[in-house]
Symmetry: C2
């Protein structure tokens, strides 16, 4: 078979790409994007043939007050329609709904009344019963649904096995493998993807991948997950996202080679919208993220460092991160 000689010059038509620039990038500016920014990303995704775009979070209005958080943390139907109208385009739209931080019974409308197509439920290991209830609510309302288990790097194997078993008993369409802290090497992605897929065998569910770039491995780990069978793939414009950011869309599109994808609109959007944004807010790899990634720590300390005047005090930061106090 020709595939075995040089498989990287072919493509896999099953792979679908989700842009989460506004959703994950919002974690760096309290979700305060201008409408024009969101609109230009939306138009670029359509022109580029991207399959899904995430229109922010469906956060609880009680938890995320407008005085502190921009609208894309609580994306309402009106907010989204202000950008997309009735979304009379091929792209599908999603929001992320965090377990225990979403008033899902009221804030997620029936699918037929919404311009949204997909609800992505994000959960920590201790929130799974709530998350499963949220997936059921969204499925009952008619949505495509994913479940995204965060911070897998801090979950013990037997708990992960139980979680995957539980997820496989739900009606979710996709189970996402997340490298929330940017801590995994390719061998670990391979190992985890195999575990996920073993549980999912015969269920018809798809495997997704969402990677962070703390060790400059977001794109590489995304490729690794694709090689192992992931068909749902997250990326963002020029890697915009929390801390070290995500898998860059401009790299992913080049790798996938499916003729339905087009790089040029992505480049136009980055040039016009994302580069100027990068002057105002920081994201992307810097040394402190390498340190927290290597140590399997949440990047919040690195983010705080980068937002301070001591942003390049790497040695002191390393000493603080590695102090034994348990």
């Amino acid at each position: 078979m020709p595939e075995e000689i040089a498989p990287w010059i072919t493509f896999r038509p099953e792979i679908k790409v989700l842009d989460c620039s506004i959703r994950d990038g919002g974690l760096m500016n309290n979700h305060m994007f201008e409408d024009e920014t969101v609109r230009r990303v939306y138009e670029a995704n359509i022109a580029a043939g991207v399959d899904y775009m995430e229109m922010g979070y469906k956060g609880s209005k009680d938890i995320y007050a407008p005085s502190e958080y921009g609208g894309w943390k609580r994306s309402s139907e009106d907010d989204i329609r202000r950008i997309v109208g009735d979304n009379d385009t091929p792209i599908k739209l999603s929001v992320m709904a965090d377990a225990e931080r979403t008033d899902y019974h009221t804030d997620i409308l029936p699918c037929e009344d919404s311009v949204l197509d997909l609800i992505r439920v994000a959960t920590y290991i201790h929130q799974i019963p709530t998350a499963v209830d949220m997936t059921k609510d969204a499925k009952d309302k008619g949505y495509e649904v994913t479940i995204n288990l965060m911070a897998v790097c801090s979950v013990q194997d037997r708990e992960l096995e139980q979680a995957l078993e539980t997820f496989c008993e739900t009606d979710v369409d996709t189970i996402y493998l997340l490298d929330s802290w940017g801590t995994f090497y390719s061998e670990q992605i391979e190992d985890l993807a195999k575990r996920y897929l073993k549980h999912m065998e015969g269920t018809g569910k798809e495997l997704g991948i969402h990677a962070h770039n703390n060790q400059q491995l977001a794109f590489a780990n995304t490729i690794e997950a694709i090689i192992r069978g992931a068909n749902r793939v997250d990326a963002t414009m020029m890697g915009i996202g929390r801390g070290a950011g995500n898998c860059p869309m401009e790299l992913l599109i080049g790798f996938l080679k499916n003729p339905k994808f087009h790089l040029r609109p992505i480049l136009q959007c980055i040039q016009d919208i994302i580069v100027p944004l990068r002057e105002e807010m920081e994201w992307g790899y810097t040394v402190p993220y390498a340190i927290t990634g290597q140590l399997t720590q949440h990047p919040r300390t690195a983010m705080a460092l980068r937002a301070s005047e001591d942003k390049d005090e790497y040695v002191r930061f390393y000493d603080e991160c590695t102090t034994s106090d348990e």
Copy 2:
């Protein structure tokens, strides 16, 4: 065997690291590093347990005039000793010698008269007879020797097979796999590493890896080569190097986990020396490098763009790179 459960928490003692910050980084500032910069990198490498440090190029004085190129393009014995004295330390020192651009008969001293330990011969596919003669010269003079075939991405398979066969007939200690244009994905690195190693079987030679970061894959591809058997690994401080730069030392040291390596001195050097340098000169991933990497093109056009006022004109650059004119 425990290795099969989670091999990434162990380490492989055979792996040796070479720092080429000054050599590859010199391609971005015409090799005009201050002595203090070179000295601080040297001291950091010693403290970190790095095995080799490359002290620039052994470029021909006729080709590289001092009026245009800094001293680290023609590193003389005196230049190097000005930094390292007699190098009474565990670190070994190397220079890179480009085929057809090095007066090797005269400029490479007998090993016993030099503070250098290793000569790395860099060659394009059409220069191999010269390169082989250079390896013989260096071996006869008593050095450890590597051969580094550049731009492998533009070499046809049958020529590569012939080159590897030729290299295996020499006395070189290490054959390097190079991703000069930052164009390879992990599958290609795997494929190439297997080809190299198949030829090298039984010769006792080691495989090396030198990767560029055009697609944010320098570290990932270095890991891939290590997994496939590479035991000689290039890295640079905060990725400093030509264009998109190289595999970052701070990431590699964290991955290797050999207790002989220490991250803290690397961080100190980056904080004190490399971050200020980054204010003066640009290296590292930007979108134009993604474009040339995806297109298997030399990054020189991307470097020229980044040095111009149009540095963020990605779409026009993409159009220029993709214009058919053959």
